[in-house]
Every structure is written in structure tokens, then in C-alpha cells.
Amino acid sequence: MSSNVITVPVGQTEARPWVDELHQWLITVDHKRLGILYIVSSLLFLTLGGVEALIIRIQLMHSHNNFVSPEVFNRMFTMHGTTMIFFVAMPILFGFANYLVPLMIGARDMAFPRLNAFSFWLSFLGGLLLYFSFLGGSGLYGAGSAPDVGWWSYAPLGARAFSPGHSSDYWTLALLVSGFGSIGTAINIIATILCLRCPGMKISRMPLLVWMNLVMAGMVLLAITPLSAAQIMLLIDRYLGGHFFDTQAGGSAVLWMHFFWIFGHPEVYVLIIPCFAFMSEIIPVFSRKPIFGYPVMVAATVCIGFVSMSVWAHHMFTIGMNSYANSFFTLTTMVVGIPTGIKIFNWIGTMWGGRIQFKTPMLFSIGFLFQFLIAGLTGIMMAASPFDWQLSLSYFVVAHFHYVIVGGILFALFAAFYYWYPKMTGRMLSERLGKWHFWLFLIGFHLTFDVMHVPGILGMPRRIYTYEPGRGWDTLNFIISIGAFIQAIAILVFVANLIVSYFKGARVGNDPWDAWTLEWSVSSPPPAYNFATVPTVASRRPLWDLKHPEDPDSHYE
């Protein structure tokens, strides 16, 4: 199937000058290169967002600190949130989807390669636009300023009177532009999965990663667009004198909240479902067992996709909705816990009785399982609206969603990096540095975010610039900040690992992990054409069939 390789005429394999090489990257429409561009650009934004987080943590290290001014502090948490969600988490997951989906379904490329390139450049330039606000936020008035109204930009803070200059406009336009990019990518992923599967790859035989990215793309179509619509309304308000969110003319600030969270909560699932996808590929391989309960996993994913569309207002329990609405959103939010629980049990069921190999990807996956469970539990706590009335807008909430995003999404992403890096570069990441990275990050993570729940319960509100001494928050905040620095060191180890291994890592063949999905049947890194001959698939684990012709999966499915 994969052993035959197209031989390239000698003249075409010579090394090109680097300007030429760079030019090739700029104009590329190859899904693998675009995937890598997505990932690398997200890592750059991750660094920026991380530095902003560190500035926030230094400021909050002890009471009455004035490391930065209050204005800068507001900009930092706004930019941190916006960057991490829109320009780190989403594009990096799109990058992996771009790279892996065509390889896993035996396709030559995405369905619309040029749309793919267009979407990437939209997302990337959206990010640049956001950061340009540091220079151009106040237009010609002098010193620039970044947006400082929080990543929700709640009305009326986003209105002209409260957000003069152009900083909020950069925020709006950046999200609008990158939102169109996301919609393009989502359409592309759906079309690719539905139309370009190789012979034998029935929809019931697709790897779970492909399934989950299909659900994710469907959610992007329905979740990102309300945000785009709301941003258009905000622009109309700011530039054409409209009154959508202008309470003085009868407009409604609450409507903005609804529109934002109709986007905002499904967005969380847009981010976490691809991470479930990584888990569903990595855990079986390192447990040496096929995934437990494939059909149930698919059903649970689709179920999460549907239910998560109806939970948004649990972000708004404190605005005074009536008790029926509160009960409804409490109920739907708790219902999401059921399919998610099914997934966690399925992963544990996959590990149960398996010959588990504790390689770095597996370590991060196990970390994901525990942390995502705890994040889910605090989520259930806050789904109960009376409990939420107590803790909304406190550091407890901050701890909860960082537990999801860092403890869940970021750990899954690290697992994915260690797992697919050999496929993308042809070299292994160092296991030794990987272990350092894992343990340092784990310790830093728990030091920061476990402790962060406590000042929340003690009443520390989020987004405060500083606090009075003697409330019992000082020591806790100090520990949280120390944890943040340990995480930063771990990230440095990770980056060092990425760079060093690119040049010095052990070279690998097609299939270093003895895995089962189609991307491991081609060379590492894969050739531009992916598959020399179109593969034919007879089961969910095509490479198992290939390696064990005496006992293929196709006999049992």
C-alpha cells in the first residue's frame, strides 16, 4: 500500500536558496505546510499571550503592587484572553486538523486548497491586526493602546463613549476577520471529510479524530457566526450611530451578552472536542488496545455538539434572568456532563487491561484525564445557579476555566505535539526533555490553578488591579504567581525541545509508535502528494490489518 514511492527527477530535489524556500511557504496551498504554518504562528501568539499572563501574575503577586499601571493591567487581561482563545487555541487546533484529517482519510489534500490558504492568512492577519492596536489603538492621537474592555467587551463598555479611540475597533475587526477565516476552514474540513475519503473508508470506519473534527467544524459554523453578526452590529453602533446595544435609546446591553455567549460557550466545545480527538488517538496506541466503545464515542461527541448549543446563558446567571431560564440552563449544563462522562469512562476502559507505555504523549494524556475531570466537576458546581450567584466573577471561575483550557486543552495539545512531531519533521522529540517538560508543567499548573480556587471562595473578584493587605489573599496569590513562573520555565523547556530535536533528534521511519491509522503508513515527513497509490481500507485500524494479515480487524467489525 505505502511501500511504493514516486521517484522525483534528480533536478527537483536540490536544495533551494532560502528566499525561494520562504516564498514557497508564503504561496503554499499544501495542507501539511498550512497546518505547520497554523501551528507555528499559534506558538508565536502563545508566547505573547503567556508574557501577558506573567505580567498579570507579577502585578498580583502581593497587595498594593504597582508593577504596571491600572490601564496597562486592563489591556493585559483583555489581550491575554483574546489572544489565547482566538489566536492560539483555535488556529493551533485547526493546524492539527489541517495536517491530520486528509492523511487519516487517505486524501491528497483538503477539498479546497486555496480556500485553506486564504483562511489561514485571514486568521493570521487578524492576529496581527489585534496586536497592531498597541501601535495604532489611539489613531493619530499619540501613544497607542490595546483594547482594555475585557475579552467579552460587554456593552456599554464597547460603546464609543466608554471606549474612545480605535482600540476596540481593532479588537472587533480582528475577531471578524479571523472569524471568517474560521468559517472557511470549517467548510473545508466538512467538505474534505464528506467527499474525499479513500475507498473502504466508510463513515463508520473513520478514525475518531476525523469524526470529532467533523463535529467541531459543524459547531464552528453555528458558533462563530453569531459572534461575527454581533461584531457587525457593534461596528454599526460605533460608526453609523446605531442603537443595538445603546441602553439610552432603548437598546439592550443584555442582548450583547446573549449574542456573545451564544458564541462563547459552544466555543469552549469547539476547543475541547479536537482535544478529545487527540486523546482518542493517543490513548489506544499507548495502551496497545483499540478504543473502547467506538460507536458510543461518536454518539457522545455528536450529543455534546447539540447540547452545548443550548447552555450559553449559564454565563449569565447573575444578570437577573427569571427562575425558569435559570433552571433550564442549569439543567442543560448538567446534561452536558453525561456524554462527557461517557467519554472519560471510555478512555479509562481503553487503558484498563492494556499494556500501558508511559511515553511523554501518554503522560500528558493521563494528566489530561485527571485535570479535565476536576475541571468538569467544578463546572458542575457552577452550573447550579445558586452556587454561581456566590462565585460568579470571582477567581474561582478563573481557576475553573483555566483548569479546562490549560489542564485540559493545553495538556492534550502537548500530547499531540509529542505524538505527531515525528510525523511532521521526521525526528523524535527528546524523551528526557519531554519528561522534564511534563513534570515541571504539571507542578506549575497545580501550584497555580489548584490554589487559585481558594482566593475565589474567599471573595477575590477577577480582573482587579490590586487588593488590600490582610484579607488572607497575599500568600495564596504569591504561590499562584510562583506556579505561573514554573509553567513558563516548562514552556521554555518545550520550546528548546522543539528546536533542538528538529536538528538533533533521532531520525524515525514511517511508524515510530507502532500505530494504526493511515498517516503512519507514509514517510515522515509525508511527501507532498501524501499517498503514492490511493489506499484501500477494510477496518477502523488499517495499519493493524497490514501488520497482522493473519488476524485482521476487518473480521470482527
Binding site: 453609523l240 442603537h243 443595538f244
Partner: protein
């Protein structure tokens, strides 16, 4: 295209929700019942253009080029007529009733929703005209019928949206 239509539907849904939510919430006039007139003729124009584009695509599949081009031009004319109707209505609202996008909530939501739809009609017309130009230079044949079918899907979508907008703005909203 189906994916794009789902995404577009979500955008329109949000604008329709905003329109319905703000019905009757305007603090100052004019109100919809005072100033809006139902554009029956232009609605018929737009809806019948769905029929003509459908027939045009069918003729192209069967390779009857001149019938395709004729119906295609008719579609463009009907779409253009609809846009003219919208322009006339806006002109009347602005100059006779003094209703602009910043007058009150009705103005804001009305111009956004109808404007968003008109924008989609305009985008559609640009694509239709492009096809017509290629058609007259003899570059559209049976081989392109797949793409033409996709474009006609978009045009049907724009029509369906108008049915919703019409119901919301001119029937329910008054």
C-alpha cells in the same frame, strides 16, 4: 456551499432575533406601522427569479445554450429590479420620513437586516453577471453545469432569506 449556507443562516438568525427583540422598543418614532409599505411587486420579482435561475440551470444541463443565457439575463434583470425596489424604499424612508440608521432602534435594526440581505443580493448579482459575461463569450457549457448549480443554490438561499425577512419585517413587524 451547504456549509456556507448553514453559516450564513446563523448570521441572519442573529439579525432577525435582534429585529424581533427590539420590535416596539423604540423610544422615538417613526414606527414600522407608520412608514413601511409592503413591497409586493418587488417580492414577486425576486421570488420568480428563483424559478428562472432553476430553469436556466436545467437548460444548461441539457446543453441548450441560448435558452440558458436568456433565462440567466432575465434572472439578473429580476434581481436588479428587486435591488432598485429596495433602493427606492430606502430613498422614500430617508427623505420623506427622516428615518436613518441612527434615528431609533427600528431604523438600526431595519437597515441592518434589510441591508444585510440587499448586500447578499448584490454579491449574488455580481456573480450572476460574471457568469453572463463568460456565457456571452462562449465559455459556459455543459461542463460548467455543476458550478452553475452551486451558484443557483446560493441564489435560492437569498430568496428564502427574503421570505423570512419579508415575514418578519412587513407581516409580523407591523
Amino acid at each position: 456551499m451547504a456549509g456556507l449556507i448553514i453559516a450564513e443562516s446563523a448570521i441572519f438568525t442573529i439579525f432577525v432575533v435582534a429585529y424581533l427583540f427590539y420590535l416596539g422598543k423604540s423610544i422615538t418614532g417613526p414606527t414600522p406601522s407608520e412608514v413601511l409599505e409592503t413591497p409586493i411587486f418587488y417580492t414577486i420579482c425576486l421570488l420568480s427569479s428563483s424559478l428562472t435561475i432553476h430553469l436556466a440551470a436545467k437548460f444548461l444541463e441539457r446543453g441548450i445554450g441560448f435558452a440558458f443565457l436568456g433565462l440567466w439575463v432575465l434572472t439578473i434583470a429580476l434581481g436588479g429590479l428587486f435591488l432598485y425596489g429596495t433602493a427606492q424604499e430606502w430613498h422614500r424612508l430617508i427623505y420623506e420620513h427622516g428615518l436613518t440608521i441612527s434615528t431609533n432602534l427600528f431604523g438600526t435594526t431595519y437597515y441592518s437586516l434589510v441591508g444585510l440581505h440587499a448586500f447578499h443580493v448584490t454579491a449574488g448579482l455580481i456573480m450572476l453577471v460574471t457568469v453572463a459575461v463568460f456565457g456571452f463569450s462562449g465559455h459556459v457549457g455543459v461542463g460548467q453545469s455543476g458550478r452553475i448549480a452551486v451558484l443557483s443554490m446560493y441564489w435560492h438561499f437569498v430568496d428564502v432569506v427574503w421570505v423570512v425577512v419579508f415575514t418578519v419585517v412587513y407581516v409580523l413587524g407591523r
